[in-house]
Symmetry: C2
Subunit: 350 residues, 2 copies
Amino acid sequence: MPGGGSAVIAVDAMGGDRGPHVVVEGAVAAARELSVRLLLVGPAAQIQTELQRLRATALPIEVIDAPDVIEMHEHPAMALRKKPGASIVVATRLVREGRAASVVSAGHTGAAMGAAQLVLGRVRGIDRPAIAAVLPTAAGRPVVLLDVGANVDCRPHQLLQFALMGHVYAREVLGITAPRVGLLSNGEEETKGNDATIRAAELLRGAPVLFVGNVEGRDVLAGSVDVAVCDGFVGNVLLKFGEGVALVLREIVRGELRGWRGRLLQLYLAPALGSARRVLKRLDYREYGGAPLLGINGVCVVAHGRSSARAIRNAIRVAVDATAHDLPARIGEAVAETTAVASPGVGASH
Amino acid sequence: MPGGGSAVIAVDAMGGDRGPHVVVEGAVAAARELSVRLLLVGPAAQIQTELQRLRATALPIEVIDAPDVIEMHEHPAMALRKKPGASIVVATRLVREGRAASVVSAGHTGAAMGAAQLVLGRVRGIDRPAIAAVLPTAAGRPVVLLDVGANVDCRPHQLLQFALMGHVYAREVLGITAPRVGLLSNGEEETKGNDATIRAAELLRGAPVLFVGNVEGRDVLAGSVDVAVCDGFVGNVLLKFGEGVALVLREIVRGELRGWRGRLLQLYLAPALGSARRVLKRLDYREYGGAPLLGINGVCVVAHGRSSARAIRNAIRVAVDATAHDLPARIGEAVAETTAVASPGVGASH
C-alpha cells in the first residue's frame, strides 16, 4: 500500500466501456499530476501490464486483485449478490476498511450506488442517496442539480434532504459561502408545483439554507441559483432532453457548414464549436469529471463508462476534493440541525 | 357576420403583450392568405382603428365588442368570474353559440384554458384537457409533446388520455397514419419510471395506439416517436430547460463572434444562426403557430403573448386545420373505444 500523507483513492479499473487501459491511463495521469495515491482494483495481471506499458510502475499506485466485473446489462442488486468479488465491491470495501479515503468508478452507476449503500451505508438522516450533476451556466459559475440519479416518486422531506446535500456540496467543494437553493417547478409562484414540491417548499422555508423559492427549467442554466433540487425522474428526463436540444442545434449548424466555404468557416469557428461541445459534454454529468454520490457514509464518485483518460483523472480530482472537505460528516451535521428532514411521523430518522 | 363557406374563427384581439395591433395585423394576414373568416373580439373602436390603418375594412373580418381584458398577473379562475365581458370569454362563447368554429388567443394561457372548460366543457371521457406542443426533431418531422400545460400529479389513466389525444392530433392534423406513441421516462426498460408512468405503460399496452414503450428525454427531439406523453410538470420543466440549454450555447457562440472578424462570420453564418433561432423559438410551443388545447368540446388554440403578427396568422391556420378535422369528435371516438381510459373504480367517465 502506498505511504505518505496524501489522499488514498480506490479506483475501479474495470468500469470503463473502453476497457481498463483508459481507466489505468487516467489513474496514471492523476498519480503524476495530483498529490494522490491510488489503489487500482481489477484483474491484477491485466492492470500490471497496462502500468508497465505506461512506464508507471514507480508511481504511488498499488494493484488490488478483483476478478469479477458487473456488466452494464446486469441488474445491479442481483449482480452485487452474485459477485462479491466484483471490482466495484472490492474497491468500495477498501473505503470501509479505511485503506482508501474514497472510491471512483466509471462503471455501472446503479452498481456503484448499490455497492456504496450495501458496503458503506447512508449518512444518518438521509433516506436516499442522490447523484449531483455539476453543470455550466450562462453566468459562468456552476450549478449543482440533484437528484439526477434514479430516485423517483420522492417525498417532500426527501427533496429537503437533496437540498441540504446540494447546499453542503456547493458550500464545501465549490466554495460558495451561502449557496442559493431553488426548487425546480412549473412556475415561480408559491402556488405552482406538484403536491411533493409544494410541500417540500414549505419544509425548505424552515430549513437552514438560503432558499430562494421555486425556479423554472430555464433558471437552471441561467445561473440564478447555485443548487437546483428535483426528483430523480425529472432530473434524468431534463438532462437527456437538454442533450437532445443540443443535438438538434448541432445538426442544423452542421447542415449549414457544408462545402469548401463551410469547411473554412468551421476552421474559424473551431473555438466556438469547441466551447459548445464542452458545454454539451457537461450536460452528461458523468462525463465531466465525475458526479458525487451524496448521502453515502464515504466519498464515492461516478464517471461515465465512455470516459476518456482525462475524465477519469478529473473524477479522481473530484474525489480528492470531496475527501478533503469530509462531505459525509458535513452532510450529517446539516441533517442534524434540520428537524423537518425526518420522515413525517417517524421522529428522528437514521 | 361574414358569409360564405369558409371556416369562421374567433380571435381574442386583446391577448398579445404587444397590444391589439399585432394581433389585428396577424388576423388581417390570415384573412388575406387563408380561406377564413374572422371574428375579432375586443374593444371595438380600437380594433376598427387598427383595421382602417391596415386598409383591411373590406376583408371578411367582423368586430365583436368586448370591453374587458384578463391581465397576465390575474388568477384565471377569479378573473373569469369577475369579468364575464372579457375578450377571451366572449370569443369562446362565440364557439358555443355556433357563430365561430374555433377560438384563437395569444393571451393568458390559464385564462384561455379556464374559459374553454367553463364555456365549452370537456370531451366526454377526458378528465383534464392538455396543451400539446408541436416541436421540430432532428429527423425532420415534428413530434407532439403533451401535456405542456399545467396538469400536475397526473394519474395513470390521465396519462393514457393524453396519449389518445396526442395520437389523434398526430394522425388527423399532422397526417401520420400510425403515430408512434412513447411515454417519457427515466429509462427505456419497462421497470424504469415512477409509479404513475409504470402503471400508465400497462394501460397503454392495452390501448388502440401504436405504443412503443418508454422513451428517454433525448428521444423527444431525436424523432424516434411521433407523440411523447408526460405529466404537465415534467413537460413544463423540460421545455424551459431546453430554452436554457439553447441560451447557454448562444452565449458561447456570441462570445466567439466578437470583433470585426466575428461580425463578418456572423454575416456568413446568418442562415445557420437563423435556422437555430427558429428551432429555439419552436421550443416555446406557443410561439410556433400556437398550441391546441386538446380535450375541449371545441377547437381552441393558444399562442404566445409575445407572438408576432406572423405567429398569430400561423395560430389561425392551426385552428383552421384542427377545425377541418373535427378534433373534438375524433378524440371522443378514441376515448370511447378505450376502456382503460376511465378513472379506476369509477366505471364510464364523463
